[in-house]
Symmetry: C2
Subunit: 596 residues, 2 copies
């Protein structure tokens, strides 16, 4: 079937249920950042392959909402499909909820697979369509009825993350979660985020690309810890270990019955921004909902001593791989034909040489010249280019190792640069260094500090349209909350104090469309510093150990303090990495990290 035929088939199913509209989002049942093939219903129906987008199908029209990263791609992929492109955030473009508020008839029924949308999503529609007295139908996955040869749901083997890596047993973690539940006087906690379940149980899996998690829900009460997952993914050993820890393994689908079984009068902790509409709706009427973020997010964000020790050492490994790659790229570009995809494979190979390497933590961004200005660029055979000995290669990549997860961006000088390129590179570096050197009082949030990274750009009327930093999981999602470096308040960016043991990225950038892009990214660890009469001070320890390319620095733009910060960092990089290098490479590392 082509797209139009697929939509017609879906409309047929909609008519049977008397639905005026059907919504197909990108999400799996767990609000995951990446989703398995089974969940790619929006992609199957519309043909649009971007990582974010929501399809709306009505009897007489269909539309797809996506964001600025994907306008060009979506225009191409939707062409001829009859699906209108809705450019989210552009002036005059309604949101999906607003669109429904305008176009639905009174009393219309809106459908979706209630497992793929959150309670908050439906609430927003309800609010924007208030005058239309709309009702919702979320019980059936109608796409399933028209999807020929749908891939099966992934159920890769679940494996144990040894306590020597995790630092805290699953029993201890469950006890901590119950303590947090007690603070909220909650009788039950519903865990739907896959990385939260994986963290809590010290288990990892392979059901989601780039993220070693497995499909599962947890339902935790004062006495019981129920794991609803695909039994075939669990070995007998792991089943026994779980049983020992008081965890009961139940079928994946049984989560609805478990949630429904909570008796009236009890209190359940659920995050309506993250939990699916359907699960929220099976909660009994008499149960009180405490709508707050899951306490596991914060527990998981504060790394254990073990995790910290491993993350420090994994960054030495990763630093060796990335630094070797930079040397290889700089010394071969122009003499060898190196494409973006080729360079990404080469870096992957350097990482694969390291012990304990498990795979990439996200799709690599290896962007030459103007491609660097596309924030989430991913080279495809159609876009791939051969790098020339001039301008920049922006390499934003990361890996999972048994000892943790990395995420690093370096903007690598391939040859001659324009004054503008140097100036941009240096301004972004100033911001990166200033944020990295922040010393601040306990209680301060990322929102308080973000300006330090942006200030050198803002002073010149420049900016970058993304957060300055995100939390990073331990062999989990490379993007995790709740902490971050952003300036915007509210919405998804909760203001969470930076606690000792949190890991974040520090990655300011600058993007000149059609010209080049700059980004400098280290992961940093939040640490306690001195305690004075004025309070407990905190600082950021850089975990990433890779030189910044000095060939693009316009020294005259930097203050003495900033030069000092760069030289100190480079001295530490040399001290850390030099034992792993010899000969020419070592000589180059010495130069690359020498004081300016």
């Amino acid at each position: 079937m082509n797209t139009m035929e697929k939509l017609q088939a879906l409309r047929g199913e909609m008519r049977k249920k008397n639905l005026s509209a059907y919504i197909v989002p990108t999400e799996d049942f767990h609000c995951s950042e990446y989703v398995g093939d089974y969940f790619k219903a929006r992609e199957y129906l519309s043909g649009f392959t971007g990582s974010a987008g929501t399809l709306l199908v009505m009897q007489d029209r269909a539309a797809l909402w996506t964001d600025g990263r994907y306008f060009l791609q979506a225009e191409e992929q939707l062409s001829g499909s009859g699906i209108e492109l809705m450019k989210s955030g552009q002036p005059g473009v309604p949101t999906l909820s607003e669109f429904l508020g305008e176009h639905l008839k009174k009393g219309a029924v809106v459908g979706f697979d209630g497992r793929t949308v959150t309670g908050a999503f439906v609430e927003d529609i309800k609010e924007k369509t208030a005058a239309k007295q709309v009702t919702f139908y979320g019980k059936r996955d109608l796409v399933d009825r028209v999807w020929e040869e749908r891939p099966s749901m992934s159920a890769e083997p679940v494996w144990e993350l040894e306590i020597s890596y995790a630092g805290l047993s699953r029993e201890d973690k469950i006890a901590k979660v119950r303590q947090e539940m007690e603070k909220e006087r909650a009788d039950a906690l519903l865990v739907t985020a896959l990385d939260e379940t994986a963290w809590l149980l010290n288990l990892r899996g392979g059901d989601v690309k780039n993220t070693p998690v497995f499909l599962a829900y947890m339902f935790i009460t004062k006495r019981r810890a129920l794991l609803c997952a695909q039994k075939s993914a669990f070995s007998e050993t792991i089943c026994n270990e779980l049983a020992k820890a008081g965890v009961t393994l139940l079928p994946y689908e049984s989560i609805e019955d478990m949630v429904a079984s909570l008796p009236a009068g009890q209190r359940i902790l659920v995050d309506e921004k993250r939990v699916s509409y359907r699960l929220l709706n099976v909660i009994s009427k008499g149960v009180e909902k405490i709508n707050k973020p899951s306490p596991i997010a914060l527990l998981k964000a504060v790394k254990t001593e073990r995790e910290i020790a491993h993350m420090r050492s994994v960054h030495v490994k990763d630093g060796v791989a990335v630094t070797r790659f930079i040397y290889w790229l700089k010394s071969h570009v122009g003499t060898e034909e190196i494409t973006e995809i080729g360079a990404a494979s080469r870096l992957e190979a350097f990482r694969a040489e390291r012990e304990g390497y498990l795979g990439p933590s996200f799709d690599p961004i290896m962007a030459y010249g103007p491609h660097g200005a596309i924030v989430h660029y991913e080279a495809t055979p159609e876009t791939d280019v051969v790098m020339q000995p001039k301008s920049f290669c922006l390499a934003d990549t990361g890996g999972h190792y048994s000892e943790g997860t990395t995420d690093v961006t370096r903007t690598i000088v391939l040859g001659e640069l324009t004054a503008r390129e140097k100036r941009a590179y240096t301004l972004v570096l100033k911001g990166h260094l200033r944020l990295g050197a922040a010393k601040f009082l306990e209680g301060v949030c990322g929102q308080n500090l973000d300006v330090l990274a942006r200030q050198p750009l803002w002073e010149e009327g420049l900016d970058y349209n993304h957060g300055t930093g995100h939390g990073v999981g331990y062999l989990l999602s490379v993007h995790e909350g709740p902490q971050n470096f952003r300036w915007r308040m509210g919405g998804e960016s909760a203001c969470v104090p930076l606690e000792e043991g949190m890991v974040l990225s520090n990655e300011p950038g600058l993007y000149l469309a059609g010209q080049f892009g700059i980004r400098h990214e280290n992961l940093v660890l939040v640490r306690k510093g001195e305690k004075t009469n004025y309070g407990q001070f905190m600082y950021l320890e850089p975990l990433t150990m890779v030189p910044f390319d000095k060939d693009a620095i316009e020294v005259s733009l930097m203050t003495a303090q900033e030069i000092g910060l760069l030289n100190d960092y480079h001295a530490k990089v040399y001290e850390t990495l030099s034992p792993y290098f010899t000969g020419e490479e070592l000589a180059w590392l010495g130069e690359a990290t020498a004081a300016i």
Copy 2:
């Protein structure tokens, strides 16, 4: 009666109503920062005169909560009264709600004058005493029955603020408020803050110290604008003008009936953090409460073009007065006996010479040497000292003029300084200059920028225990919201984007107990700067025009950029003020503002 006798009399009244506890806070019926004498019930009963404190009377004990500013004073004033001092915020000290949760018996009744506590205050007690099933009695002011010779309620004449000052008519303002009500689908708005009513009606009064407002409530519906106030304070002319604008004047006490008259099914906008318990409780059961800040706060914070023009010119006047004072103080200290109180009177006299001066906008802080380390120091005959030709005089003062309100702090060098004093002075100045020079995107809040002022201190493990800046009213309260410069999120510090036309103080400090205090304060106006591809940029224009004392600057600690900022500011101060100076004073101004 002495304190013990007064408490016994109150306990007698409490027994008649069967109350286990009675709470007497500092507030008037409007959550005002300063209160009239009629409202000083806590002071009358306890003898404690500080500006913040809450008295709890039980049958067998009494306790008073106050904050760190007043620990010493409260200890002295409560001595022998039998009232226990509760040092708020100290480790192990319960809050009033926690104390009640611990000490009340099951089913106890807690009393207070329900007009003097907010809904949120009572909610907090309810939560902390949940297990005790406490009920509340807020109908009677029991203190009134034991207060001999209670001052009468102030009813000073209300006067018109001409449109040439306000820039917007009361009709237009009421229309704007109704627009905001519509956005919330509110049928009614209850206005209890005195400065909000004064702003809305372009009226001023004299019922509250340091703040030209009058006792009043407003109740605004789609059609009616009811002003509940003391009729004797209004001239016939003003009554007629109000009637013309559709405003109905009713007795002050009738607000309860008006609020109670709102029919079920309607929606009322009330801020439960600011509106009194009693008013919240007269709202009919079927009325829906929208618990949000009053929209007037934000409307009032964004100054009109007229107000801005006047605030610029009033700062020239005020700058002349303060600069003249600084010259006088520096050139007379040591040769004349100048005390703190004497200096404050002298500055008041310099201000009084200026046309349109109405009086101080807050109690002046004129603090010599170690007194400068007491953040809210107010010299009394007991504490007053003669200034010596060494160390600093910290002068934090402000005035009301027909053209607006000022608030300025200078730390004035009286003679020889220690290296430590110079270093502290310079670090604080660096922070002040950095925040003042901030360029930022539209949408940024004060919480995003506060770090710029604190960073030079935080880098050395230092800090100041107050916000960096507050909003300033136009001939209203010198402290107003909702915008501010703070780093803490939530609570009273809402994150409000900085909008063009807002006025804030920029006042970092450093306080070394027993030694000296530093504070540098300018008022700044938020303005739109350039609009680039990256968005609308904003910057801060300094309104205050008074030189910073260069005699304390340790130039080696300042960056070239900071020196440039100071020199630019001083050049502007000279250009602005020099036309008002002659002879010796002019020569001194030239030196005081010369580039470093």
